[in-house]
């Protein structure tokens, strides 16, 4: 299937990503199953078993080892991938940082699931938000198509010589990973040509040029190395639009840091991550029919955080409501905090409020989105207040 021409096929988000991985055909995949990421690993293991891909798979005994093996493989000079969710990501945490600071261009699809405890298997963003300062580039996708596209695009972004950083492509657990939607697949050869061959830098397997990875780096150099990492992250701002443009050429689909939806004349704007953007778009359309000047700013890229775009699209609005699918105990929710601080220097700051919703997979309905917008429109919205949508108090 999907050999020569782009095809529209109904698949789950997990399948879409597994196919992206099949087309990327990394040298090494090391993975450990966890709901709701499991189907990605299962589909991919089948591709390996059937000889559809040449990839070597490492069925590790834990996620900590998955990320550790990926670090080893990437340092050796291979294109390496893994995928995980929630507790698996938390178990990897130590090595997630090491992958980034070793500047290894690994792409990892993450299927968002609430972190324990209590244990839960459904979607929220607490897992990936806990990694937001790990030095990984982070995308949040709205649907299976975006999960597929951004997984492919991320290979080029991660491996770009001015970036060389790992990327997490985050899709909402069950909502995207297990929901079936039509996805337009690119032909295999087009994807292969787009991702090209990895150009390893300092591969361990090059015994003619031996290198030392992971030295002890003390107060005399550590800081400079961190500064370089900060710079690499900044370079994403320049490199991502270039890679996105090339992806547009092969797919006709445009990606950017954010997606403005009906923002031109919008007075009241909502900001969100992930699949909830679909619900918000629907509600915006509905409320616009009723004459409300509402709009949406969808955040695709959360790290590096697109501060300029936030200022550009949100300055001068009457109100901005930020939806967060995770909490930061004792502080502001992550997306809200980032949006708020981005607007500090803007000439005319909107009235700004935080709405936490959907923890542990609690659904978000059109009425919930309407409720938040209506608070804005009616002037009832209290600035800098933390509201909860869909919660029994």
């Amino acid at each position: 299937m999907m050999e020569k021409v782009a095809q529209m096929i109904a698949v789950t988000g997990a399948q879409a990503v597994a196919h992206a991985m099949r087309q990327i055909e990394p040298d090494v995949v090391a993975a450990y199953p966890i709901t709701p990421q499991t189907p990605i690993v299962e589909y991919f293991a089948k591709f390996v078993a059937d000889g559809v891909v040449k990839t070597e798979m490492i069925p590790v005994e834990s996620e900590h080892s998955a990320m550790s093996a990926v670090v080893g493989a990437a340092a050796a000079g291979a294109r390496a991938m893994t995928a995980t969710s929630a507790n698996g990501l938390a178990l990897m945490h130590e090595i997630v940082y090491i992958a980034a600071s070793t500047r290894l261009p690994v792409v990892m699809p993450v299927v968002n699931r609430a972190l324990s405890g209590p244990i839960n298997i459904h979607c929220d963003h607490s897992d990936t938000m806990a990694e937001r300062d790990s030095g990984w580039i982070q995308f949040y996708v709205e649907d299976a198509q975006e999960a597929y596209d951004l997984t492919i695009l991320s290979v080029r972004l991660a491996e770009h010589e001015h970036v060389r950083l790992p990327v997490m492509v985050n899709q909402d657990g069950f909502i995207i990973s297990h929901g079936v939607e039509p996805v337009s697949f690119l032909p295999d050869d087009v994807v292969k040509k787009f991702v090209g061959e990895l150009k390893p830098i300092y591969p361990l397997l090059d015994t003619e040029h031996p290198v030392t990875y992971g030295p002890l780096d003390l107060y005399d150099y550590y800081f400079e190395h961190k500064r370089q990492q900060i710079e690499a992250m900044k370079n994403v701002e320049k490199v991502f639009p270039e890679v996105a443009q090339e992806f547009f050429k092969i797919s006709g689909r445009k990606y950017s840091f954010v997606e403005p939806y009906k923002l031109d004349d919008a007075e009241h704007v909502m900001v969100a991550l992930g699949s909830t953007n679909g619900t918000v778009k629907y509600t915006v359309d509905k409320m616009r029919e009723e004459g409300c000047k509402v709009g949406l700013l969808k955040i695709w890229m959360f790290r590096p955080f697109p501060k300029d775009e936030i200022q550009r699209y949100l300055t001068g609005r009457k109100s901005v409501v930020v939806l967060d699918r995770s909490a930061s105990f004792g502080a502001e929710a992550p997306l809200y905090e980032a949006v708020k601080s981005s607007l500090y220097e803007s000439a005319s700051r909107p009235l700004l409020s935080s709405f936490i919703y959907g923890l542990g997979g609690r659904g978000i309905a059109i009425e919930d989105v309407e409720e938040a917008f209506e608070k804005s429109i009616s002037g009832e919205l209290v600035t800098d207040y933390e509201y909860y949508l869909g919660l029994r108090e």
């Binding site: 040298d27 090494v28 090391a30 040449k54 990839t55 070597e56 490492i58 069925p59 590790v60 005994e61 834990s62 900590h64 080892s65 998955a66 550790s68 093996a69 990926v70 670090v71 080893g72 493989a73 990437a74 340092a75 050796a76 000079g77 291979a78 390496a80 130590e94 090595i95 090491i98 361990l204 397997l205 090059d206 015994t207 031996p210 290198v211 030392t212 990875y213 992971g214 030295p215 002890l216 780096d217 003390l218 005399d220 150099y221």
Partner: protein
């Protein structure tokens, strides 16, 4: 064909070992001797070593940025994951070879090195997983019987009565009370593995086991008793001697298990009592001042005696009966 000292001298008169001068280990430390014997054997056999190292004394002292004492490719990832890391490297090698990106003639030796903390304790899961998956690598444990890098804390390898900072010999408690884990047995219990115990005080036995490990068609594990002069409180020039004493007292029997078949590679004609090993190290000095010292040392003696008898019996019982 076992390597000879002559052959080694020939090879290394014009080749460096892989671990060069300039590292900051204490003079007399057993760990670098273990590492060098392993690398020399591999290089003399025509292998290109790739080294993965777990966090610990040797790792921090050999790679203080911007310096590195390693002239072979080297990766340190974290403390507990050296086996998973080398699995990734070894798998990358197979993947790239399959795609024609690496010459099939190139002979790599994938080494993972870990201290006892990184092996018996925090890294045991990662090691077990890598062995179960059958990666072709040689794991080398340099066993100094405690967390030395962090200042002599107890590990699953610390023997009873040895002074450590987390199981100190106190007024009530005589230091660590539990026996050392039997790591060779733990590893040998995996299927399709070669596991052996060596000492730096017997380089011929050491090198022949590394040779076997490298030629073994699957994962292998070598446990090398590598005294820490600092926390065993022994003189700098007694490191090698201490390992010989460990063999002479049955404290560290030299043997190997190849797919379930036991072979004791050195059988001293006469043994010395374990108290000789204990007395030679100041880490036991506080124990020896206690009224229950004799009982504790006797317990170790009973243990090593029984273990030796069991090893002899296992050697008999498993002869010509490989698990596969």
């Amino acid at each position: 064909m076992p390597l000879t000292m002559k052959k080694l001298a020939e090879v290394f008169s014009h080749k460096d070992v892989g671990l060069t001068q300039g590292h900051r280990m204490c003079p007399g430390c057993g760990a670098p001797i273990t590492v060098k014997l392993a690398l020399m054997t591999a290089k003399a056999m025509g292998y290109e070593p790739i080294v993965a190292f777990a966090t610990g004394c040797m790792e921090v002292s050999s790679t203080i940025y911007p310096y590195s004492a390693w002239s072979v490719p080297y990766i340190h990832n974290a403390f507990e994951n050296v086996s998973a890391t080398i699995s990734g490297v070894e798998t990358a090698y197979r993947a790239l070879k399959k795609r024609g990106k690496i010459s099939p003639d190139k002979k790599y030796a994938f080494f993972a090195f870990g201290g006892d903390g990184g092996t018996y304790d925090i890294g045991l899961q990662s090691l077990s997983g890598a062995i179960e998956r059958g990666h072709k690598f040689v794991y080398i444990l340099y066993d100094n019987e405690g967390y030395m890098n962090t200042g002599n804390q107890r590990s699953g390898s610390t023997p009873p009565g040895a002074e450590t900072t987390t199981a100190p010999v106190g007024k009530e408690i005589p230091g660590k009370v539990q026996l050392k884990k039997n790591i060779v047995e733990i590893i040998a219990a995996h299927e399709d593995v070669y596991a052996a115990a060596v000492i730096i005080g017997d380089p011929m036995d050491f090198m022949s086991k590394i040779e076997k490990a490298l030629q073994f068609d699957g994962p292998s594990f070598i446990a090398s008793l590598s005294p820490c002069v600092r926390f065993w409180r022994i003189p700098e020039n007694k490191t090698v001697e201490m390992t010989k004493l460990a063999v002479q007292t049955k404290y560290w029997p030299l043997y190997e298990v190849e797919r379930g078949v036991y072979r004791i590679t050195r059988k001293p004609s006469k043994f010395r009592p374990v108290i000789d090993f204990v007395k030679a190290q100041q880490r036991f000095r506080l124990l020896l001042k206690r009224p229950d010292a004799d009982a504790i040392v006797q317990r170790i003696q009973d243990y090593v005696d029984k273990r030796w008898e069991r090893l002899l019996a296992l050697e008999q019982a498993t002869k010509d009966k490989p698990s596969r």
